[in-house]
Amino acid sequence: MSALLEVSDLCKSFGGVTAVAGVSFEVREREILGIIGPNGSGKSTLFNCVLGQLRPSAGEVRLEGKTTTGMRPCDLNRLGVSRTFQMLQVFPQLSVRDNLILAGQEHRGSMVTRLFGRSDAGLAEDAERMIEFFRLSHLAGQQAAELSYGQQKLLDVAMGFMAGPRLVLLDEPAGGVNPTMLGELRERLEAYHAERGATFVVIEHQMEFVMALCTRVLVLAEGRLIAEGTPAEIRRNQIVIDAYLGSATPPA
């Protein structure tokens, strides 16, 4: 499998604090890669550097071999890289349908054609399909603010998929979601992955969720990569257990 995304020697410091200290990895086409690690280990900062929200202090990011370091998030998004955030990020005053249309409209035409073209930018059907896919049909016309937390989380993920991205970076999709909704979220993510063959990178603390969803897992601690492997390998890795997972039985 070829690498869709390559990150090499990425560093990010804030003043004297180094959040990411030389991380290198690659994301292969069609895989679901998990990134785990304790709070403050640099996972979200890494995401923000890859996605252009933050400018890395050093290092390089390449998408299909082309350097994208320092590119603006909106330009990266139009290249087919999408994301969700750790905190809920829907547009509360817009309806569920409008949230989804917004998530796709900037990929259609130019500024001028968007001004003079159709109000829904020709995305009404796509939005309807996405609403059905995430089982939000009964909520389509409601303002996002009126949805429950779990429903907003589904909408948030659906928005990330709206433009048909090839690479989606999900930052703690399971955070604050109840067990029933969590099962549904995982099932929908797997279904989308199978249907569209998209590539996912998932940051998550919910171990069961990561281990079930991901095909490969990276472990970060203090801004460095400390382990890499399949979920089963990561579970057995002594360094990871010491740094993050902890052991089930206290050491003798």
């Binding site: 929200q53 998030p73 999408s82 955030f85 990020q89 917004l102 829904d120 089982r135 016309g141 303002q143």
Partner: protein, 326 residues
Amino acid sequence: MTRPGAVALAIACAAAVAAPFLLKSFGIYLLSLWAVLAVAAIGLNLTLGYAGQISLAQGAFVGIGAYCVALLVPAGVPYPVAFVSAGLLCFAIGWLLGYPALRVQHHYLAFITLAFTTLVFLVLRNEEWLTNGIYGINAIARPTLLGWSTGRPLQFYFFCLGALAVIALAIRWMLRSPWGRAFVALRENPIRALSLGVDTRRYTLIAFALGASLGGLSGALYAPLVQFIEPSSFGLGLSFNLLLMVIVGGSGFFFGPFVGALIAVLLPEWLRIAEGYYLMAYAAGVMALMAFCPSGVLGLIDRASKAIAARRGFGAPTLGIERPQP
């Protein structure tokens, strides 16, 4: 639009057409001033209410538009050309004023735009070779359009009302396009909007430029309305007054600026029965409204209509039509 909303709009339109026939010339002047300032307030509502960028510069753009017309028309430029030029000039200056908004927000941006208003005032006052300084420009003619003279108060009112209607429809159409959705996204969550491919830089600049251009068009109507302009009309007072109109009417509501401008122009006059205290009564009224209803008059109506719908047992509109799936 809901049924009661459409009825209210129809009544308001009929009232706007009928009212001047019941009024003397000062009343017609006040209505014309309402129409003119509503154009500027619609522009500020676009920048602030939809795109979420604070601006205390709208009064300065009204001034730039007014001086543009007052200087170009005597130089032989036809009024329609001067009118469009005022809009274009303010669009360009508004675009440039948008650049600071790419760096800072909120009160920092407020101070940048406030300083801009002061700068424009000083240019209008000090550059006498161009603007005639504190003596202002008088005897500004009202235009004759396609053989129709707007010289008399009633005719000029209908000219202003027609301009307001055309501009309002154009803005309504723009807000219903994907641009309107992008502006709301910019206001509600610029970081998320950026991650969804929305070029927030460009939309911020457009929001500033379009808002400013409406300020310029308002000024281009203001100059022939009052027929005498001088720099102090376009100082901070006007910018604050326009901000008041947007907020009191209901920031981010399409009809907010119409209601806000009506209140800001007419209420002080109605309160004249309080004689020497009328402006004090007006100020106290504004304080009370802002303290109890920060979302403005239309926000109040919106809340009330939702509460009535809930009491009657209708939930949000969609729930009445589509049943939740099992």
